[in-house]
Subunit: 160 residues, 2 copies
């Protein structure tokens, strides 16, 4: 295993890799994968004027995971983690923790007091929810029937 | 008072009027007004491919209020009311009720099972929250410290 490196600038080839990783996790529906790619496009088009900040974990030329986050301009100091996904072949190796820890640290530097994460309440998200709890997040609210009737949205928050 | 008419197509001049009405309500910070105008721009640029649907209430040539809403593509059948604002000179005349009732009816036709509204918990939003309750909305969650430390977000929902 080579050293892991963090990268913030977005490249054209990330479009494909973000779609690959997001699909490979088997946690997202095709319309959700499309939204993740739209965020890459937004950043490629607008550059730093985009509301979306990216963080990639690379091992040499291979991208292992990514996070998309940013300041919520409707708020004073809330930031959102829009997306985090890690190649399933690297699950359990700490790539997710590395990404989320870096997102927290960079958000805090940017003035963030509260980092918000939205995830699903359904069963195949049990590991995801446990991950956020282990990283110090608490449940701020549960919106029943949000993703679909019977499929709730869980909102996590961490005060930074 | 002339008859009120509903309009769904967005015109260039709506840019200015949306900013005027939104500012005049005295309920939104300048960055929030800027977001409302961005949604108008998104719709003007993308046309019907935009995720944002508009509804205006006009009295002759004068626009009295508007709503912005749309299907949340991350969900099966949830729609969001992104924005609703009425010229303060018309408050209490039923323009808000007309707008929200039409949004509900059009969302339902589009397949919406749950319409979601996010608003603030702070004191100057008391009338706003009472409006949603009177229209049959219930509080699905309250996210403390969301807009600012001490300033929560209230999420309302109505099953259609």
């Amino acid at each position: 295993m080579q050293a892991l490196t963090l990268r913030t600038e977005v490249q054209r080839r990330d479009r494909e890799r973000v779609a690959e990783i997001t699909t490979a996790t088997d946690m997202f529906h095709p319309p959700e994968v499309a939204v993740a790619v739209e965020l890459v496009d937004d950043r490629l088009t607008k550059g730093k004027a985009s509301d979306y900040q990216f963080l990639f974990v690379d091992e040499g030329d291979a991208t292992l995971g990514y996070a998309i986050y940013g300041f919520n301009s409707m708020t004073k100091s809330s930031w959102d983690l829009y997306w985090i996904a890690v190649d399933p072949e690297c699950h359990g190796t700490g790539v997710g923790r590395l990404l989320l820890g870096e997102v927290e640290s960079r958000s805090r530097t940017g003035g963030c007091t509260h980092l918000w994460v939205e995830t699903a309440g359904r069963e195949n998200y049990t590991r995801t929810r446990a991950f956020y709890v282990s990283m110090g997040y608490t449940i701020a609210g549960e919106l029943e029937d949000f993703y679909a009737p019977g499929d709730s949205k869980i909102v996590f928050v961490k005060a930074l």
